[in-house]
């Protein structure tokens, strides 16, 4: 295990968005979008990030790439501490970490032909020589299932699935080692979703890519991930291997979340754990364990003390007072 390389190491990452008010713009509080999150992703693996909408998944993804400046904590990508790199030195590092967005309709510049969308940054960073440029772009397009004659077309001429292929080709052209995929298939039809997911898996195998896969679709996450993290109100409640999380979820929130996954068996009795109440505001999260307001195992300590991260073996980490003694 010792020789295994971690491409992404996140340590106590925090992102607070200040809430300002009044004429003097005094800070009166903060939205804790990402609150003390730590995890690591091995090279060539996929880390699935799940959670309800608004729990900070996308903010986490963007903060990893420093598209949003973190408030605290460190992010190491390929061993380089991205949080301490100066802004102007960040640009040459960008190609190694790319992003695929949820909405393939708004993430492509409508005024640029496909070849330019894919190639612009390739030229900017001098990834291939001028003479190889066109062949390189065509090769990347072919790898992503795009026909060569698409090169001069504009994004509006494509369907959602094809556009997402363009987004993937765009990211891949820079030869990244790490890609943040922010709900890359949730805007697509189910049949297209499978194609895109399989494309992403194939590319991962070929190029040893590391993915952070953000999604709220648990079946997609199960299909693509090697390990999984569950977020609630900006906090990582539980992380572990896919098998562990699906087979024996420990955190009550994870249990509730996974009980909602439909099973393709009409005789299967769904044992859904229904959560009561709404998600509290991330600007004013509950004291102690953030989940205690909706947890059916809530104990006295839960509303007082925030639980520590506990390793339950095999890298299965959970933040819950139920497992204090183990």
């Amino acid at each position: 295990m010792a020789e295994e390389k971690y491409v992404v190491e996140v340590d106590h990452l925090k992102k607070y968005f200040p809430i300002k008010s009044g004429i003097l713009q005094k800070e009166i509080g903060a939205v804790r979008a990402v609150d003390d999150v730590s995890f690591r992703i091995k090279e060539g693996e996929t880390f699935g990030l799940v959670g309800e909408s608004g729990c900070g998944k996308s903010t986490l993804g963007r903060t990893l790439l420093r598209l949003i400046e973190p408030t605290e904590g460190t992010v190491k990508i390929n061993g380089i501490d991205m949080t301490s790199v100066k802004k102007k030195d960040l640009r040459p590092l960008r190609p190694s970490m790319q992003m695929i967005f949820q909405d393939p309709f708004s993430s492509l510049d409508p005024r640029m032909p496909v070849g330019e969308i894919i190639g612009e940054a390739v030229r900017e960073h001098g990834i291939v020589s001028k003479s190889e440029y066109r062949d390189y772009i065509l090769k990347v397009m072919e790898d992503c299932g795009l026909r060569p004659y698409y090169i001069d077309r504009y994004p509006h001429e494509f369907s959602g699935g094809q556009r997402q292929r363009i987004c993937i080709a765009r990211a891949l052209a820079l030869n990244p080692s790490f890609i943040v995929c922010d709900e890359p298939v949730s805007a697509l039809d189910v049949s297209i979703q499978a194609q895109i997911i399989n494309l992403m898996k194939d590319l991962q195998k070929e190029r040893k890519l590391t993915y952070l896969f953000i999604s709220h679709d648990l079946s997609v996450v199960e299909h693509i991930s090697d390990s999984i993290g569950v977020m609630y109100l900006g906090t990582m409640m539980e992380t572990g291997s896919k098998e562990d999380i699906f087979a024996k979820p420990l955190h009550p929130y994870t249990q509730a979340l996974f009980s909602a996954v439909p099973v393709a068996d009409p005789d299967h009795k769904m044992d859904r754990i229904l959560l009561e109440g709404d998600i509290p505001s991330p600007a004013n999260p509950p004291k102690g364990c953030k989940f205690h307001t909706r947890c059916k195992h809530c104990m006295g300590i839960c509303s007082q003390v925030e639980p520590e991260a506990k390793d339950m073996g095999n890298g299965h980490i959970v933040k819950c007072h139920l497992y204090d003694d183990k």
Binding site: L67, R91, P92, R94, M99, S107, Y154, H156
Partner: protein
Amino acid sequence: MRKYIIKRILISILVLLGVSIILYTVARSVPGDYVTNITAGNQNITPEMEAQMREQYGLDKGLVEGYVDWLVDALHGDFGTSFVYQRPVAQVIKEYMAPTLALSGIALTLEVILAIPFGIWAARKQYSMTDYTIVAIALMGISLPSFFFASILRIVFSIKLGWLPISGMLTARMNYQGFDLFLDYARHFVLPIVVFVITGVGSMLRYVRTNMLEVLSADYVRTARAKGLPEHKVIYKHAFRNTLIPIVTLIGGMIPALFSGAVITEGIFSLEGLGNVALKAVYNGDIPYLMGFNMFIAVLTLLGTLVADVLYAVVDPRVRY
């Protein structure tokens, strides 16, 4: 594309017909016609003389008859004779065009030059002090009435400081030649241009800012940043080029403003331009001039929107006709 343009021109002809009917009806319905205006206060005018004058000016005809006559002449390229100037309308327009074009042309160019960079700047720093300051100044410009603002400028720069002439286009009794003549014109145009720009730049600036804000939050701008492009390329290649699309419409709409943009400002500063002539025509009930001038503006407006729509197809690959 050609088919589209032809279709648009045919529709425009119908629109112009409708516009001319409305204009003529309004112009003729204004109480107090040209004859009443010029004979007002004159004791020696008898009703018979008035009737004779009305007949001479064609004001004795009914609304429908008058309009049909005007239309038939107009279709033959004859827009009639201005009551006030006693010369063909087309000639009057041509004669007074230069000062208006100079004033509006310079002012509108300045507006574009100011509105685009400041709009972008404000959008990039949304909710910062810079943003608030730029937007506040823009709003002040929009809300300032031009006659009020003009008076303040004249008090400060013409009367108190004496730096600039108070009105007119040339200094009286000075026979400037060559470059001095140009300088004299320029000095007279400074204040009108300032009034025009300050009261007009705000709406365009806010338009640029709003569009830029929308584009800046788009995923493709985030993508451009994630690609590791330098910030100036993110802003100008991806963000600004996409805001250009709606701005093109705005610039198409400026074509008629080149000729009619500053009626009040021209009036205040006594610049002998089309706006001032139009103002006099309204006061006096100069129907032929009003009809000719307004139809000219209507043609330009339709032309402007057509040009904007064609430009749309040039700048936006999504638009095809």
